[in-house]
Amino acid sequence: MPSPDDLKFTNYYHSDKRDHPEVKEEWVAYVLAKPTHSSLDRGRMVYWRYIKERGHWLKVVVDGEEVHNAYIDSGSHTRQWEIPDEDR
């Protein structure tokens, strides 16, 4: 699993007009290392994984090699997803 220190972020991710107050970078690294769902979204890869500590699914949007966005996905689709045994 990549260390949070190895992650690269876009300028957008760290812009001062946004914040990610409840998203730990170690969670982002976990999602990228072991996603259970992924999709190509307008040229960007999107990954999801359930975060046991948070009790929700984390969505990570990757632009090229950089993390562009990450937030807890409360979309209705996540309520249909089965939580992996190891994340329960």
């Binding site: 979204d41 999801w48 632009d63 807890i72 409360s74 209705s76 689709h77």
Partner: protein
């Protein structure tokens, strides 16, 4: 809508209406609007019959956004318009958006535009952790999982969609 497809809402074309006379912009996903919620001063969220976010209305839209969206440079933007919006006549379109409910309609509206990503953030002063797709290129955010405290929106491909409205 009950679906396990994470891209379901991301594929729904947005419906955009701009009224030049009142400088009011409304963006929706096509669901019927049942109630409204003041997110920040001039920014009103719309909810459908299931309580799901259906879009938003922004007052003084051209005044607030045009200076920033004018920084858009098609040659340097990394994100291309993927799902073109449907442009809708403002006649009758705003009827359901007039009555505003909500807790913080006087909250400060923060506007952030990122030309390199053609991405527009419209937020009140509260941070947000939870997000969900409303339609193609539009994401809503809140501080709570069930979206009861909506804090703002992110609109991707913002200049590509809105400049034609403002410049006509």
């Amino acid at each position: 809508m009950k679906t396990d497809d994470p891209m379901y809402y991301a594929r729904i074309p947005l419906r955009i209406s701009y009224c030049r006379d009142t400088d009011t912009l409304e963006i929706r996903n096509g669901e019927e609007v049942i109630s409204n919620y003041g997110v920040a001063k001039g920014l009103i969220a719309h909810l459908d019959a299931d309580g799901e976010t259906a879009g938003f209305t922004l007052e003084k839209a051209r005044t607030l956004l045009l200076p920033q969206l004018s920084e858009y440079d098609a040659t340097s933007t990394r994100l291309r318009l993927w799902q073109p919006p449907v442009m809708v006549s403002p006649v009758g379109f705003f009827e359901s958006s007039r009555k505003t409910q909500g807790k913080n309609p006087k909250s400060i509206l923060n506007i952030g535009y990122f030309p390199g990503y053609d991405t527009l953030d419209l937020w009140n002063e509260n941070g947000a952790s939870f997000g969900w797709d409303v339609g193609a290129h539009l994401t809503a955010f809140s501080r709570d999982a069930d979206g009861q405290e909506l804090n703002g929106f992110t609109l991707e491909c913002a200049a590509q969609m809105l400049l034609p409205c403002f410049q006509e």
